[in-house]
């Protein structure tokens, strides 16, 4: 069997896959054969090493059998009938078996991709929120932690809402995708458009959240900064009076404490702002 014959026969077996996948697989095998020939093997021998083509093809098809968390849901959606009249490579029975597998796999694959994307996105949001949370916990007194947590709770709500919207959209899309699975190329376009839309909305949302958080920290920093300045001023006044013999030790200590607390909170707020910007750069 020549290389061309081998590739053509293999292509017949794989004809239900997407055009791009087919090309990908065939390229790989043709490159392999070429390299074997370069290593001094004859074309015939190189191809014989692959063994039975039918077995090889069924191995390849099995690779598209992607496992999914919600397997039951996919099974329900699995189309009962599939027409394979146009193709004539193998016996119709076997053909339809492979086709059905491939079709359900393509649905699964899409679902898996979407799932992975959603997970990644959620992870990112979680990381941003988590950073703020752990940092706050380490650095500030318990009062401030409680305050920060309150803000985080408020922030998390829109995130949950967004997640719910995305999930409902995804479900809707999955159903749609199943119905139209036969019109592969058209569907791919819709999928692409939809994905882009969702990711755009998500990015805009993420940007808003980030800006809000930054503005909040900047405001806090300003507030505490001004208070620190007052405390410093007060401390100076009181110290002078203290030196003059007035009994103002308590007030002096109070001013000093206020200065330290407000100053450190200001620094902390600025640190939090910078951390967020860094995260943005990394994500971009």
């Amino acid at each position: 069997m020549s290389k061309r014959e081998f590739l053509e026969e293999l292509k017949n077996f794989l004809s239900i896959l997407e055009e791009r996948e087919q090309k990908d697989i065939l390229d790989e095998y043709s490159q392999h054969i070429e390299m074997k020939i370069k290593d001094g093997m004859s074309e015939e021998e190189a191809i014989r090493d692959f063994g039975d083509i039918r077995e090889l093809a069924s191995d390849i098809m099995a690779a598209y059998h992607v496992k999914l968390p919600q397997e039951e849901e996919v099974k329900e959606q699995e189309p009962v009938q599939f027409v394979a009249e146009e193709r004539e490579a193998i016996s119709p029975q076997e053909m339809s078996e492979i086709s059905r597998k491939d079709l359900s796999d393509s649905v699964r694959k899409k679902a898996v991709n979407l799932l992975a994307e959603a997970k990644e996105a959620l992870k990112r949001v979680g990381k941003i929120l988590g950073n703020g949370c752990t940092w706050t916990g380490k650095k500030v007194a318990s009062l401030f932690v409680a305050c920060g947590n309150g803000i985080l709770m408020v922030l998390k709500k829109p995130v949950q809402l967004e997640r719910r919207i995305r999930e409902s959209r995804r479900n809707q899309f999955d159903k749609e995708g199943n119905r139209n699975a036969k019109e592969g190329s058209f569907m791919m376009g819709v999928v692409h458009l939809f994905k882009k839309l969702i990711s755009d909305v998500y990015l805009a949302f993420l940007w808003c959240v980030r800006t809000c958080v930054n503005l909040f920290w900047a405001g806090m920093a300003m507030l505490f900064g001004i208070t620190a300045l007052f405390a410093l001023f007060g401390l100076g006044m009181v110290t002078v009076l203290l030196c003059a013999g007035y009994p103002l030790v308590g007030v002096t200590i109070l001013c000093l404490g206020g200065l330290l607390v407000c100053g450190s909170v200001t620094v902390l707020c600025f640190c939090l702002i910078r951390r967020d910007t860094k995260g943005e750069i990394q994500n971009a």
């Binding site: 990908d24 697989i25 390229d27 790989e28 095998y29 490159q31 392999h32 070429e34 390299m35 370069k38 090493d49 692959f50 063994g51 077995e55 090889l56 191995d59 390849i60 099995a62 690779a63 598209y64 059998h65 992607v66 496992k67 694959k109 992975a116």
Partner: protein, 106 residues
């Protein structure tokens, strides 16, 4: 060697080879052939499956000879999966060895 034996460990060998450095298909077949005598055809479907399951990523790189080659790169989840497989493999062969040893001693 028994074909069923090979099939089980092939995945682990492929994952480990790619973990060390990124490889293209033919190179990987040669690497794996050093350890087990395997039908070359079966490596590509395996690579395809591992890629579909997001354990590998692929990219094209120009080569001095011939068309650009498709390189495989292991992902973080691929590394986790490899470690899991290795653990499974360790306990598996240890228990088999233990079993055989006990029977030999009897």
């Amino acid at each position: 060697m028994n074909a069923q034996f090979k099939k089980g460990v092939l995945e682990l060998i492929v994952l480990e080879s790619v973990r060390k450095r990124d490889m293209y298909g033919y190179e990987l077949v040669e690497e794996v052939s050093k350890v087990v005598d395997v039908n070359e055809g079966t490596i590509y479907p395996l690579l395809k499956r591992l890629t579909n399951e997001k354990y590998f990523e692929t990219y094209l790189r120009e080569s001095t000879e011939g068309p650009p080659r498709k390189y495989y790169h292991i992902t973080a989840s691929g590394i986790l999966y490899r470690d899991e497989l290795e653990k499974e493999w360790d306990t598996f062969w240890q228990s088999v060895c233990q079993f055989l040893k006990e029977h030999r001693d009897e």
